[in-house]
């Protein structure tokens, strides 16, 4: 008869203690009760004070004001909007404007940032110094300073529309903004769009097929001529068959301003310029650090395998650098989106400017409006960090495998 090992005691009380109070046990639970009491007291104070203050100011709490007429105009709208629309519509207009300036800013910031990073890594001494000077100057000046500089100094110094600077006779820069030709859809537009969509889908499918062939059978398929044909050749043929997809309406100087074309307001130009150059300085440092973080042995190993320099860079160095670059890069994109709220300083109609600014001063619904505005930014950053943690999880999985 063998002696069985005794089971360990159940220790239910201990486990509960651990879950409720952490390592400190009952002390921790007591601390939590005290903490909860303090939080509850603060919350009670806030609610009761807010209620009393709102009553004194005759403001009705709640989101009912969103259905009221806004009654003011916005000078850049992506969706149709007039003064008689509701505050909810104002919220949407502002949100879209924020997103537009962020996306455009992100694109430019990435391009400029990579160029500056390449300059700083360049073997050319002069170019490396220029990149360094750019980064040091831009990073050490406040972003609001730069926005105001572009808006109040540079753009204000531009000539008026009558003496505007012409770019090849199709676009005009003046202190009223940038005027560019506006595309107008023609008869062949639908066919063009359909063919373009088909081309993109076909190219992606081709690439997937080629990769599968490479990884499963070791067969190299050259796809770039087909992709070129699908993306450019096919739409060109359609254009010849079905006619031009769209024509351009050129801006004309009439009186004191331009008629026709689309106008990009100076606030947008100043904000995009400042945000993209500012963020580009940070992106340049991130990219540089990422590329320098790849050990030089990787490059040597690649060439000892017989890969060319370009192939080594593309297949060995850049993927490893990207792993270091992407998380802080996303952080910078998020920063740019948050910094776009500085639009309020120059009157670009973004979310903070039209909603937390004009709407707030018209309705006085401070709590609801600021909570909504903060909520939007919080949501954007929470989604981004969720995506980033999925990315980090995938990276760590691929490294572990």
């Amino acid at each position: 008869m063998s002696i069985e090992a005794r089971k360990p005691p159940r220790q239910i009380a201990l486990k509960i203690r651990r879950v409720l109070g952490g390592k400190t046990g009952w002390n921790g639970i007591a601390v939590q009760f005290a903490f909860a009491a303090v939080l509850g007291w603060i919350a009670y104070e806030i609610v009761s004070n807010a209620r009393a203050n709102l009553e004194n100011q005759h403001i009705a709490a709640g989101f009912g004001f969103l259905a009221n007429n806004a009654g003011f105009d916005v000078n850049q709208t992506l969706i149709s909007y007039t003064g008689s629309d509701t505050f909810l519509r104002v919220f949407l207009v502002g949100l879209l404007n924020t997103l537009v300036v962020s996306v455009v800013g992100i694109v430019f910031a990435t391009v400029i940032g990579f160029i500056v990073a390449l300059c700083r890594l360049s073997p050319n001494w002069l170019l490396a110094r220029i990149g360094e000077i750019y980064v040091e100057i831009i990073r050490n000046l406040p972003v609001l300073f730069q926005i105001l500089f572009w808006y109040l100094a540079v753009l204000a110094a531009l000539p008026n529309p009558r003496q505007s600077i012409s770019l090849l006779g199709i676009a005009f820069v003046s202190n009223r903004g940038l005027v560019i030709p506006r595309p107008i859809g023609e008869s062949g537009f639908e066919a063009f769009l359909a063919v373009l969509a088909f081309g993109i889908v076909g190219s992606v499918a081709l690439r997937i097929h080629a990769r599968r062939a490479l990884f499963q059978r070791g067969q190299v398929i050259r796809i770039w001529p087909y992709v070129l044909g699908l993306l450019f050749g096919l739409p060109l043929v359609t254009m010849l068959v079905a006619g031009l997809p769209f024509s351009f309406e050129l801006p004309q100087l009439k009186g004191f301003n331009f008629a026709g074309g689309s106008r990009i307001i100076p606030e947008f130009v100043a904000l995009t310029l400042a945000l993209s150059t500012y963020t580009a300085a940070f992106i340049a440092e991130i990219v540089r650090a990422g590329i320098l973080s790849v050990h030089s042995g990787q490059m040597e190993a690649g060439s000892s395998l017989g890969l060319s320099r370009g192939t080594t860079l593309r297949l060995v160095v850049v993927p490893q650098a990207m792993r270091v670059i992407v998380p802080p890069l996303t952080n910078q994109y998020l920063n740019l989106t948050k910094n776009s709220s500085l639009a309020v300083a120059i009157g670009y109609p973004d979310l903070v400017s039209v909603f937390a600014g004009t709407s707030l001063s018209q309705t006085g619904q401070a709590i609801e409006i600021i909570a909504m505005t903060m909520g939007v930014y919080l949501l954007i950053s929470l989604i981004t960090s969720a995506v980033m943690s999925v990315y980090g999880w995938r990276i760590s999985r691929s490294l572990g495998a």
């Binding site: 409720l20 109070g21 952490g22 390592k23 400190t24 921790g28 601390v31 939590q32 903490f35 909860a36 939080l39 007291w41 009670y44 104070e45 806030i46 009761s48 004070n49 807010a50 009393a52 203050n53 709102l54 073997p123 050319n124 001494w125 002069l126 170019l127 220029i130 040091e136 100057i137 990073r139 050490n140 000046l141 406040p142 972003v143 609001l144 300073f145 105001l148 500089f149 109040l152 100094a153 204000a156 110094a157 948050k338 910094n339 709220s341 500085l342 309020v344 300083a345 903070v352 937390a356 707030l360 401070a366 709590i367 600021i370 505005t373 903060m374 930014y377 919080l378 950053s381 929470l382």
Partner: protein, 506 residues
């Protein structure tokens, strides 16, 4: 010997000297190897030189060569009067300099600002030089004593009581709120379906409040007696000093080891007494200068120094909370940090300006500058928490375990073993946060405070000085100031980083 020299394969005369190898050091070498070593590089060098030519030359021309240096008003800076294309308009900066530095601070009182600035430099510079001794005392003076002195210097005003009165006021406020909450619950209970429950809870809270009232009654009674006498500040001060010193003596170990704590407590109170006497705080202090008169660089520095001083304790507390094993505290810290890090600073400032007054009692108005300071402190505190957390994570577990093995409590382990090492690790990150805080102070100009950038913007609208180059001159001046501060801080952070990593260099 002779047959070797006569051999046909031995050279008869010396070879010519070979040319020296191509120089790869010095300026010539730099030009050869890094600028003109290949066609692409030559092209890039030319592009770079052109870029510099079109940026540096016009800037220098604008700031120096074409600049106007003297003048009374805008006419001096107009091209038709000067006779050439005018660059920077420096008389405009000269005229606006007081506004850019002090704002509308009364001219007779500006020595107070200067004195504060001198004090801060005197305290800060020794703190930044690693070789100088007594860092703890220095840091204590800068982070605790200086803000209080600076407040009374810049804002003015005196005090009516001291520790005892303040404690009594605070406790009474707290007690009133508890009794108010209980009464509100009782009122709610009259109309609600859950009446008995609310009635019980409400009465319990009111009972607790009344108990606290009688508990603190001696304190409030003493305060009322003190306020009646003429010398309220000094009596209150003596009582507070005596009580705190006795407590310090007992907690410090009584007769055995308490002498040290007692001495430092007495020295501190004597110092406080000297400050009170010097600044005349007991009878009104300096004339009050309302914060809406403050402006320019003064506001920028006040906001950034206050942000730096207040955000660090908030950050440390949040970082420790986030690493705590107690669930509620950890969850609260995470939510707090992520919330403030997820929103832009400008919405935080809007929150502080428009929402905060609604959350406070109606008779309690908060100054506009203080509101912005609260917002900035919370915002920066959340960022500092993440920096500090990085430092805490870098400390090996063995440090905490060794401290526990020596019998130190959690508080002692944290404050004596873990935190000092963690903070030293993250000094460069903390300084980087301070740089971004300094840059972010410019945002207060959006909520109607006139910091350096706000004053600059306000000065643009002065018709007396409006000329085509006014805006560029103003931005050049403000830009140089911002750059000096930020660049100085970033160099300092590099220096500290270099020092900290000295053991890793080879």
């Amino acid at each position: 010997m002779s047959d070797i020299t006569s051999s046909s394969f031995v050279r008869q005369d010396l070879l010519d000297e070979r040319p020296a190898p191509v120089k790869t050091t010095g300026f010539v070498g730099l030009v050869r190897t890094r600028l003109f070593n290949s066609p692409t590089n030559i092209l890039l060098t030319i592009v770079g030189a052109l870029l510099l030519w079109f940026t540096i030359i016009p800037s220098v021309k604008f700031l120096m060569v074409d600049a106007v240096w003297t003048g009374k008003d805008r006419t001096a800076c107009l091209a038709e009067n000067a006779g050439f294309a005018v660059g920077a308009c420096w008389p405009y900066i000269q005229a606006k300099l007081p506004q850019l530095i002090y704002g509308f601070y009364p001219e007779a009182e500006r020595w107070r600002v200067d004195l504060t600035l001198v004090l801060s430099v005197v305290l800060l510079v020794p703190l930044l030089i690693p070789r100088l001794p007594s860092k703890a005392l220095n840091a204590g003076l800068f982070f605790f004593a200086f803000p209080v002195v600076a407040f009374f210097l810049l804002h003015g005003g005196g005090i009516k009581g001291f520790g005892l009165s303040w404690t009594a006021d605070l406790l009474q406020l707290f007690d009133d709120s508890i009794i108010g909450a209980g009464k509100a619950l009782l009122d709610l209970g009259k109309a609600s379906s859950a009446a008995p429950l609310l009635w019980v809870v409400g009465n319990v809270i009111v009972l607790v409040g009344t108990a606290i009232y009688w508990l603190i009654f001696p304190l409030t009674w003493l305060r009322d007696q003190l306020q009646g006498t003429g010398q309220s500040v000094w009596t209150d001060f003596t009582i507070t000093a005596a009580v705190v010193s006795v407590i310090a003596f007992v907690l410090g170990g009584g007769l055995r080891t308490g002498g040290r704590a007692l001495t430092s407590s007495i020295v501190t109170f004597v110092a406080i007494a000297i400050v009170i006497k010097l600044m005349g705080l007991d009878h009104g202090g300096l004339p009050i200068v309302q914060t809406n008169l403050w402006g320019g660089l003064l506001v920028t520095l006040v906001v950034s120094v206050t942000g730096i001083v207040t955000s660090l304790p908030i950050g440390i507390a949040l970082a420790l909370g986030r690493r705590s094993t107690i669930p509620l505290i950890r969850i609260f810290s995470i939510a707090f940090i992520e919330f403030w890090r997820g929103v832009p600073l400008i919405t935080v400032l809007f929150f502080a300006t428009y929402m905060l007054p609604l959350f406070l009692p109606g008779n309690f108005t908060v100054d506009g500058l203080v509101r912005a300071l609260i917002g900035i402190s919370l915002f920066t505190g959340a960022y500092q928490a993440e920096n500090v957390r990085g430092g805490l994570a870098a400390i090996p577990r063995g440090q905490g375990e060794a401290a526990a093995a020596l019998g130190l409590s959690w508080w002692k382990t944290t404050s004596l073993i873990v935190l000092p090492q963690a903070l030293r690790h993250v000094i460069p990150n903390l300084v980087n946060s301070f740089i971004s805080l300094f840059k972010d102070t410019s945002l207060v100009s959006i909520v109607a405070l006139f910091d350096l950038l706000g004053s600059l913007r306000a000065s643009f609208s002065d018709p007396k000085w409006s000329s085509p180059s006014t805006a560029f001159t103003g931005f050049a001046f403000a830009g140089i100031i911002y750059f000096i501060f930020c660049f100085g801080m970033s160099r300092y952070s590099l220096f500290v980083e270099h020092r900290l990593n000295a053991h890793r260099r080879n």
